[in-house]
Symmetry: C2
Subunit: 416 residues, 2 copies
């Protein structure tokens, strides 16, 4: 098995070459559950909106011609013959010299071609005085003026929000075809790790990664399948990975990728199918031992056991691919400029990512201070970090006070 | 019943006075479902992290003193007496002149106080040559160096993301106490409206608002209770509102608030409890007929039937309150500067919100062009709009080419 480190850019290229995010299939769901989902069909209006000529005001439906010449002090009087209620088809035609009372949204009765606003009328028994003329179509929202039957109103690939879902409701749809949400299996391995909630034996620690990575999957717009801690044994791992690949669209593992004597994760993954391992170590720090496999087209990311390293590699490589699979618009990571709080060194020959905390210094400059550089596995680093600074391979160091770019971590507020 | 229009600022003040978002109560949920929820308890570490001294490298556990003086060409030889596996408590003590093989993450055996990296050693049978000295504690992550038992690691009110959830997992928590998600009942009324998915009778149109507002509730971080279309009848409405208030933390209605003869929503709402209606009409366009009630402390927003108006008032007033109730950090609405594509007029004496579409003009300037100004009820306006321009009451108009601020609608990309 090869173990040649590749750069982060090469890794991204290899991921692009192997995983062309193809549609995961579609499903029909109720629109009330469709917030954030992506439309998997072109939607064509099956009716006109509005389906009939509607009054846009409260008033009197008239023949516009009947009102010509009406003035404030010389009204024209029409005969009230009917009332048009909203939600009911008018029963009476409005003929010359006649009028029908109408409310906003009600259908325009046959024969009428305009509506006089209530404010410009006065009624005495069945006589309605019109004080201001109207022109043809005035105060009428015409049939199909908003949407025409047969018109394509939304196209395949549109992300659905409250407004698009309102539009689908308008044409009477209660359900819609959307792309299936990617299912991502997440498991951890390591002889020392124990699932949270269970009793901790001596020499053991609690597993962090299956929890933090499952939640990161949710945050990326996919559904995690939490598989917990799998025993650090080649057969057990192969069995678990096989099952995971049968039901999931991607598998994320953590642990078992160090270069120590028990480096079994790459071996287990590579045995599952073709082409197998495609990246076996990345020249980054942290995250160097990460491996990536393609098993008959399905990605398997094996991340390091260190929680901060696992989440960093997730952010750099896994999240963008999940978002593509989920057909979510990939939000550009937020970046802010800050000054380095202390000198920051890269690891020799590796792209280095330094977790930092942001704060304002005395001069009110935004300052990025590295967190717990000595404890790359520290859990608190994770929760305290606002983002990371990337140090290129060819840079000796970033000097204290020098400007640097901070990539804000998902869910952090770059505010101050 | 009063009907005095108040300004948008007065309305916001009245909302603040009446609805002090108090905790909705808490619930214990599994951390795998806790993404985006807010912690309702201070969390104190119930164990040290790490719980024992751990090796940070693969190598040999030693007494540091034993290695003093070791050099590349003059190694010191120690006797290998045991192997420490990860996840197991060491059985043998490391005494003077002795050493134990150890892997990354394994517990430091008694007697040892440093670890020599594998790279600086050479083994022949049970003899281990050390080529480089180590000092006390070198390559050891000490007990509690990350988190000390009894230390407060997360405080009440913290929004939970993948990193915080990782930290809770680290101390063995599988569940956590979080604030309950607000439940928001949504209903529509109007004699002309029909629920999507049902057959449309003549003179009827499909209801948009109960769908679009329910989804907007989801987007704001709360759980909608969809109640659909309630008959336009005082008794039916009162009954439905009473039931809604019994189970929901807020009620949002649409329709029935015009100034027409069938203006029954405010009457129905006002009958439900004290103090009743607190805002009855807002001097904005669109959205003027919106009313707000407080029923024994629970907010009832009655929005206009026009879909664009209903969603605008939701954005201006309802969404911020829901986000406060949900204890989500209220994301500042995105704003972009653009030039007005055409002259925009405000409604006389009312704060006016003009829905606009953004595009680049020939000079590559971001241009805001009003959508379908003549059809304020048009559904397509909703789906096409990128945002809105606010025109103050005292402004005559915004001239074409003049700079204006566009408030980007939730879920839209201000990109180009």
């Amino acid at each position: 098995m090869f173990r040649k480190l590749v750069t982060i850019e090469e890794t991204q290229k290899i991921i692009c070459q192997h995983f062309k995010p193809h549609p995961l299939g579609t499903e029909e769901i109720h629109l009330l559950n469709a917030a954030g989902r992506t439309l998997a069909e072109d939607v064509t209006a099956t009716l006109n909106i509005p389906p009939f000529d509607r009054s846009t005001v409260d008033g009197y439906a008239v023949n516009a011609e009947d009102t010509f010449g009406a003035e404030e002090n010389r009204p024209i009087t029409l005969k009230l013959t009917s009332i048009v209620n909203i939600g009911e088809m008018p029963k009476t035609k409005v003929t010359k010299g006649k009028t029908a009372e109408i409310v906003t949204g009600a259908p325009i009765p046959q024969g009428a071609d305009a509506v006089v606003m209530l404010e410009h009328t006065e009624r005495a028994n069945s006589n309605v005085s019109i004080f201001s003329p109207v022109v043809k179509d005035e105060n009428i929202m015409k049939t199909a003026s908003d949407i025409r039957k047969g018109q394509k109103i939304l196209t395949k690939g549109t992300p659905l929000n409250s407004r698009q879902i309102g539009m689908l409701a308008a044409i009477g749809k209660a359900k819609s075809k959307v792309y299936r949400t990617p299912r991502i299996a997440v498991l951890s391995t390591g002889p020392e790790i124990t699932e949270p909630g269970k009793k901790l034996a001596p020499a053991k620690i609690y597993d962090i990664n299956a929890y933090s990575l499952s939640v990161a999957v949710t945050e990326s717009g996919a559904d995690p399948i939490y598989l917990g801690v799998i025993q650090d044994d080649l057969n057990e791992l192969q069995k678990a990975l096989k099952n995971a690949l049968a039901s999931a669209d991607m598998v994320i593992t953590s642990g078992g990728v160090s270069v120590g004597p028990k480096d079994i994760m790459p071996r287990a993954v590579n045995s599952l199918g073709k082409p197998g391992l495609i990246v076996c170590g990345i020249s980054i720090k942290p995250g160097k031992p990460a491996t990536i496999a393609s098993i008959y087209g399905k990605p398997v990311f094996s991340l390091p056991g260190h929680p901060a390293s696992a989440l960093l590699v997730f952010d750099l490589l896994v999240r963008p691919l999940i978002q593509q699979m989920a057909r979510k618009e990939v939000a550009k990571p937020t970046e802010v400029k800050a000054v380095a709080g202390t000198r920051m060194f890269p690891a020799k020959g590796r792209r280095t990512y330094v977790m930092v905390k942001l704060a304002r210094d005395k001069k009110d400059r935004l300052t990025a201070t590295p967190l717990a550089s000595s404890l790359s596995g520290a859990i608190t680093t994770l929760a305290k970090a606002d983002g990371y600074v990337q140090i290129p391979e060819n840079v000796q160091f970033i000097e204290a006070g020098e400007q640097c770019t901070v990539h804000i971590l998902n869910g952090q507020n770059p505010g101050n």
